[in-house]
């Protein structure tokens, strides 16, 4: 102790310690300044909330650079379930939404949170499950398939996050005339995004409802060795419509409504629609464009 006492009475060391600390803070301060000026110089930016399927599949990474190149608008997006995306819009945290829950979207616009809603593209939902198909739903109509799932006690993994897919799944249980499961031991709510939920279902050897785009992405990640297969598809109720909604500037004065409009119009134009059509994984098309041409 006494030895160190002598050392620390040496003010030279103290000086070094303090100046190192001082330099640390100065450099941090400089970083901060550099940071904020950089932010100020940023291009115009537009913030979008979107569903996990458009992001997980890579569609936005593929599509948005073309939008930025043509309009100079720097677009950023946060991928979450449609339920939370709508909430972010309602709270004025984003400028525009790309989501897929038509009924909830119409209500959103009715309540005055959203201004214009434009259909952009669709794909379809598919029921996927393990190869043995223990609930024998393969080839059934979707209503019968849901009933069979309900009575078979095979594991079904639900998004459970109020996303567009989750809303659709609840509708399907209702259409089949069975109560929506909640605490049943075979019913597992993952609370995660679409691709994550497919992976949970694969681990549990269970069934789940997925949009075709994300399923193809899953096939491509699994590199030709997918654990789950499409068992039920091609019913009208399985249509999955994606729409873009601008946030109402009357509800949120801070939103960049003009830029949001630009994006909405761009997504519907011929070129973007063609890009969507050409977006493929494993040679399969993920989304079918269907915007109304103006």
């Amino acid at each position: 102790m006494s030895v160190r006492m002598e050392r620390n009475s040496n003010s030279e060391h103290k000086g070094i310690f303090i100046s190192v600390l001082f330099m640390l803070f100065i450099s941090l301060g400089l970083m901060l300044c550099a940071n904020s000026t950089q932010a100020a110089e940023d291009k115009e930016e537009l913030l979008m909330a979107t569903t996990t399927s458009t992001d997980n599949t890579g569609l936005l990474d593929y599509l948005m650079p073309a939008f930025t190149a043509q309009t100079g608008i720097d677009i950023r997006w946060t991928a979450t379930g449609t339920g939370k995306a709508l909430k972010l819009g309602e709270n004025c945290d984003v400028d525009v939404l790309l989501v897929h829950a038509p009924q909830a979207e119409i209500d959103f616009v009715k309540k005055g949170f959203g201004k214009d809603r434009r259909q952009i593209m669709y794909n379809d939902f598919v029921l996927i499950g393990p190869p043995g198909d223990p609930a024998s739903i393969q080839g059934k109509k979707v209503r019968q398939a849901m009933k069979a799932l309900r009575s078979s006690n095979s594991i079904f993994v639900s998004r459970g996050d109020n996303s567009g897919t989750n809303k659709k799944e609840k509708t399907l249980w209702q259409l089949a005339g069975v109560p929506i499961p909640e605490k049943e031991t075979w019913y597992r709510q993952s609370g995660q995004g679409m691709l994550a939920t497919i992976n949970v279902a694969a681990e549990l050897n269970g069934y789940t409802l997925a949009d075709r785009g994300t399923y193809i992405k899953y096939e491509s990640v699994a590199a030709g060795k997918p654990v789950l297969f499409i068992l039920v598809e091609g019913d009208d109720v399985l249509l999955n419509q994606y729409s873009i909604i601008t946030i109402n500037p009357k509800h949120c004065t801070n939103v960049k409504y003009d830029m949001a409009q630009t994006l909405s119009a761009w997504m519907a134009n011929n070129e973007a629609q063609k890009l969507i059509e050409e977006f493929k994984l494993l040679g399969k098309q993920l989304f079918t464009p269907n915007a109304d041409q103006e």
Partner: protein
Amino acid sequence: MDFIQEGFIQAIKLLVNRDPSTYSAISATLRSSTLAMAASLLLGIPMGYILGYFDFRLKKHIRIIVNTLLSLPTVFIGLVIYALLTRNGPFGEAGLLFTIPGIAIGQTILSLPIVIALTATAVEGADRNLRITLMSLGANRKQIAASTLWEVRLGILAAAVTATGRVLTEVGISLMIGGNIKWHTRTITTAIALETSKGEFGMGIALGLVLLLIALTINVSLVGLRRRI
């Protein structure tokens, strides 16, 4: 199991090929955690010092509160900060949601109790005889306080290292406040969460190794600093 091996190879590839999205995530991680650590050290060291050095009423109570805050869950911090930063919230005008400084605010709240608690413990643990010895040598109160601070410098360094580790590795705040926006607020940890949920385990492992490498670099340079002082 293949993906662990694959992850190692991929980690090296990402770093060597200067993969832009990886470097963007590294940059986001470093910027938010540097801001957070600067703020929490600036605020936390003086607070912890006062808490450990002086005797005052309610000292024990404050100590209990600080220690409790060590258990703050990151998702809860994320939620509270979201409520404050959302456009309709009290600080909505600042436009900090989905930005790096927004993440840094949350991380500061995460690391502040660590810095305060560990600094206070270091100060309390400083040799009691030190004060008496200094007094007998005729030091005034200012000199005693300064010497105590000097004496506990390694304790403070340990507090900084611990808090840095916590800030670098948290996911909840970055995800909720940052929104995991590619090229902007996607940090290494939120990128790992995303890659894992996509089933791209190799990529997740690679990013985890990159984060560990950063931690190693920081700690090696701190060892250097420790030798000098």
